[in-house]
Symmetry: C2
Subunit: 360 residues, 2 copies
């Protein structure tokens, strides 16, 4: 059960990874402060894990315990839900020293993290991710947000948790499709930063999909290590951190084009990574044999390697709209080699079109 740390000076924090951590009172105890705790979770996760978490929190010394259960799904990640969280926190008289605990996947973590960032101008919080996607990606790094009608994650804050407690045993109850979606981000971390890890994934993908705990602990640990390194170097995404968006420029366009919720985020990123690999072969010297490796890994993870039935022109438009909303030009994260990413702007749209066509 090896521990990692995100090195952010005074805001450094540990990431605990293992099987059975949910019940470990000793992991919560150091963060309880005044003893008041509010757990934010969704109804599905509440049914499975909330009682156990609360038992552990009580054993750790939590006094007042407030439970706030939000609806499932990406569409819950908006103001209305957030306002309900504030309302319940205020009704329960939760003060500035209340510890917020986010128990769930990316939606719960992003929303509860943002609630923690702005409730009474900021309260401490813990991430207890229960999906693979959240364990390897969204719970680490302090990005929190809700969606706006005009764009995903447009309202948010950088707010680092006091700790991340990732119990891989909670992945036992994850739907196969969700597990695969998380695997997209696992593969991404390897592709942009660590060729050895990609080789390990090629050898161990079967074990991961079979939810072998040892393999899961290793994968989650390696991803968190890689992400923590990037975040420590560039907390607020002024440079390097952008490489974590590999596959995401295409992926976001796919999600927006299909309508959010049609494909899971990880599925869109998977298809987006294959497109990005094709583009890397055209502009960044990635050998075509390596493109094939990317595609094979995505397929073996039971993820879509092919773009959905959307016009290339439409995707291109969506990418530009996405970037224009942020006031910038379209930049792509490309691979020079497996394990080595670069950021490139000013790419000929014709090459982008070709890459999308090649990924069909």
């Amino acid at each position: 059960m090896p521990d990692l740390s995100v090195e952010l000076g005074a805001r450094a924090y540990p990431i605990h990874i293992g099987a059975g951590l949910l019940d470990r009172a000793d992991l919560y105890a150091p963060h309880l402060g005044g003893g008041a705790v509010a757990v934010v979770t969704n109804c599905a996760v509440a049914r499975l894990y909330l009682d156990r978490l609360e038992r552990a929190l009580r054993a750790a010394g939590a006094r007042a315990l407030t439970r706030i259960v939000i609806p499932e799904g990406e569409q819950a990640k908006e103001w209305q839900t957030l306002d309900r969280v504030f309302d319940e926190l205020l009704a329960a008289r939760c003060g500035r020293d209340t510890l917020l605990v986010a128990l769930g996947g990316g939606v719960v973590g992003d929303l509860a993290g943002f609630a923690a960032a702005v409730y009474q101008r900021g309260v401490p919080f813990l991430q207890v991710p229960t999906t693979l996607l959240a364990q390897v990606d969204s719970s680490v790094g302090g990005k929190t947000a809700i969606n706006h009608a005009r764009g995903k994650n447009m309202i948010g804050a950088f707010h680092q948790p006091l700790a991340v407690i990732a119990d891989v045993a909670t992945l036992d109850t994850l739907a196969a499709r969700e597990l695969s979606a998380g695997m997209a981000e696992v593969i991404k971390h390897g592709l942009i930063l660590d060729a050895d890890f990609v080789a390990w994934l090629e050898a161990n993908l079967g074990k991961l999909l079979a939810r072998d705990r040892g393999a899961l602990v290793h994968a989650v640990q390696r991803c968190c290590q890689l992400k923590a390194g990037v975040v420590a170097a560039d907390e607020r995404e002024t440079g390097l951190r952008a490489i974590l968006n590999f596959g995401h420029t295409f992926g976001h366009a796919i999600e927006a084009g299909l309508g959010y919720g049609e494909w899971l985020h990880g599925e869109a990123v998977a298809a987006g990574m294959v497109m990005a690999a094709e583009l890397s072969a055209r502009c960044a010297g990635l050998p075509s044999a390596e493109v094939a490796r990317v595609r094979r890994l995505v397929e073996r993870a039971q993820l879509p390697a092919r773009a959905p039935a959307l016009e290339a022109e439409r995707l291109l438009e969506l990418m530009q709209a996405d970037k224009k909303a942020e006031g910038g030009q379209v930049r792509f994260v490309l691979l020079e080699a497996i394990g080595r990413a670069v950021l490139r702007g000013g790419i000929d749209p014709a090459l982008v079109r070709q890459s999308m066509a090649a990924a069909r």
Copy 2:
């Protein structure tokens, strides 16, 4: 036109104070970054000063200029208004490098500052306060917030501006009642931190109310200096910063008891300061002659020195509710002497009742 600075390390920022600064392109130029600017203001201030500000911003090199005009008054300081600001920012494709400029009083500054804190996870912003209250208090220190149905300023962030540009000439158009309300915070700064400044106020209150520019510049400058010192020592209000709430524990209860908007914030704080002075005489050794000085100064500033027609019990309840919402006990900022504040908890409610009665 002497300049001050809020010393917060990498987030240190200047406060410019003078007459006619609104038109000074050179003050805006260093903060323009990419050149995109969005000004948030209210309809009354827009009519008076928006064209002039925009002219100066253009002269400073602003490219895209978005104007976002919100309704007047405290009731605008809530989510609906904030969401409209986000909507207009997104519609105008304002990116992460857009400079937000808050032109107006406390409501505009608090709301626009919070918008800047969370729009695309944080954009830079400038405070251009146009009320005395905002110039001496709310624009300095980085506290931003909106109200929640269950409490004032419950949702917010600490987000420091790049600079504060306080043009005392804009106070010419301020209603007399608003000028007096701002004076309450001016008096407060003296009472908690600077006996000499209190003596200066006693000598110069007439000039200030007559909007003598030299006197206004001096008062705004001294208040900002005092507040900047407190903020630099305790940015996130974990200790010392609480002394800035002198008169506010009573004041908030008065505002809540009368219904927000009935009395101006500064008016409630003024009556609250007299109550707090009475309480200081009972628990902190403030001589009764000094209580009389506080009362006289408040009265001369054309502010209410008497509590409104509310039952003492009701105010006491409201104070406790206010604190319980924040999860703590009621603590009072008291004066040991004029210019020397202390923070005290565990005060006998009987003494609080007596102090309220004495302030009638």
